[in-house]
């Protein structure tokens, strides 16, 4: 589904990504982790073209992301993305947040879009808030709405960029529960996160990045059992204290 081949990105003399390659097959859940500054957010943003890259190739469902002829908006409408800072549109109600792209990008009727939106809100447990504004919701609630917003587009894959890093601890679980549910339904997911508990539960593979390179790319059992690289071991030992 998602194929990243030898991707490199640099700013002048500063290399952000160096020769990164990985795959996410349909239905697979891949967790990307690593210390800050390792380039993991940049990598995931390259997958839907929010960040450009100078070298390499990325294809999603057979469509090349870096190709100038690709219809990027159309491709992006098929890939859902959830951001660290939720990024709900503050001047719109929750419902409108969910229906805007359905109507304007997918061309669905407003009735149909609203119904779909409300159903998804029920699924993430927030149907009662459909007419509220994002500013009136807590962080955890906003992030769940953000996930619903992405799902409303019926994506073939979902990208998560540190979805729980900006949340207070007591709200992390409500968001992770939604994500676990998604994974169990067979959604193709690429998740940048520090939440190793989540990785242990539903990830199929774990990719470890450091300083712009993919250092390790292993099945979950292998990664947590006996990681091969020293840097990965260091990282794990530091964060597995919770």
């Amino acid at each position: 589904m998602i194929s990243v081949k030898n991707v490199s990105k640099w700013y002048g003399s500063f290399r952000v990504l160096t020769d990164c390659s990985t795959e996410v097959t349909k239905g697979e859940v891949v967790v990307v982790c690593g210390p800050s500054g390792s380039g993991k957010s940049t990598l995931i943003k390259c997958v839907n073209g929010l960040e450009s890259f100078q070298q390499g190739e990325i294809t999603v469902d057979g469509i090349s992301v870096g190709d100038p002829d690709t219809d990027l908006p159309k491709l992006r409408s098929k890939i859902g993305m959830v951001f660290q800072n939720f990024e709900l549109f503050p001047h719109m109600t929750v419902t409108r947040n969910l229906t805007l792209a359905q109507v304007k990008v997918l061309g669905r009727g407003l009735e149909e879009a609203t119904q779909k939106g409300v159903k998804l809100l029920e699924r993430v447990g927030l149907a009662a808030h459909k007419d509220k504004y994002p500013g009136q919701l807590s962080g955890g609630q906003q992030q769940r709405v953000a996930i619903a917003r992405a799902l409303a587009m019926d994506p073939i894959a979902m990208l998560f960029d540190e979805p729980t890093s900006a949340l207070d601890p007591e709200m992390i679980n409500e968001v992770l529960d939604v994500m676990v549910g998604l994974a169990r339904e067979g959604m193709t997911m690429m998740v940048v996160t520090h939440e190793m508990g989540f990785a242990r539960k539903v990830a199929h593979r774990v990719v470890f990045m450091d300083r712009g390179e993919i250092v390790e790319d292993a099945r979950k059992e292998d990664f947590f059992g006996s990681p091969r690289s020293g840097r990965a071991q260091q990282f794990l030992s530091k964060i597995l204290h919770h």
Binding site: K45, S77, G80, F89, P90, K104, G135, Q136, R149
Partner: protein, 222 residues
């Protein structure tokens, strides 16, 4: 008599504001795109209209443009002086204020977190759609305070149209003073009127700000 002048002041200000708002928005947006030539063009426009005094701009539109562009001169000669003064004032003040508004719009859009733009694109919205539905609605709310002061500046700047003979409020004030020799009364009245207009526009914009406020946010921050 002052009332007639006030009427022209308000008409010129209203027309110039509409023109300036539209043009300023376009240029402001252009300066936030990633097309270098658009940004440069927008910046050039702002620099041009910000670095020449308003009265000099009035003179350029009133004297220089008809002087070097024959079709304009022909038009000028064919209409009555008031129309010429009116059009010149609206064009001059409109373009001048547009440069200042472009600056505000640009700052407003750029103050929004990059994430909002990313979120719009990630949903598959095109650049135009992202600006229209995501960025501009919030940017305009953010810049209501500086927009208010630009509106007040525009109203004050209509007085400079006095230099090309437009019979707006300041012109009438001076005329009244010269005719009646009651300068203090004339200028006093004008002062009160201008202050009142300033106060009224301030209140109007504050009302607008309250009406479009996004629940849960003060300005644009939680």
């Amino acid at each position: 008599m002052l009332a007639a002048g006030l009427q022209w002041t308000l008409i010129v200000a209203a027309l110039a504001w509409i023109a300036a708002f539209v043009l300023g928005s376009v240029i402001g947006v252009a300066r936030t795109t990633d097309r270098a030539w658009l940004v440069r063009l927008g910046n050039g426009y702002v620099e041009l209209f910000r670095n020449i005094p308003l009265i000099v701009q009035f003179f350029v539109w009133f004297f220089v443009v008809p002087g070097v562009i024959p079709p304009v001169k022909r038009w000028v000669v064919s209409v009555d002086p008031l129309t010429f003064q009116l059009v010149t004032s609206v064009v001059c003040l409109g373009l001048f204020t547009a440069a200042r508004l472009a600056e505000q719009v640009r700052a407003g859009i750029q103050s929004l977190a990059r994430g909002q733009r990313d979120a719009g694109y990630a949903l598959g919205l095109s650049q135009v759609q992202t600006y229209r539905y995501v960025l501009l609605p919030m940017a305009y709310r953010i810049i209501i305070p500086p927009l208010t002061s630009e509106l007040m500046n525009l109203i004050k700047n209509t007085a400079v149209a006095y230099s090309i003979g437009l019979t707006e409020l300041f012109f009438r004030t001076r005329e009244m003073g010269e005719m009646t020799f009651r300068y203090f009364e004339a200028f006093g009245a004008a002062t009160v009127i201008y202050a009142a207009i300033a106060f009224a526009s301030n209140r109007l914009m504050a009302l607008l700000e309250r009406r479009v406020a996004v629940p849960g946010y003060i300005g644009a921050h939680k």
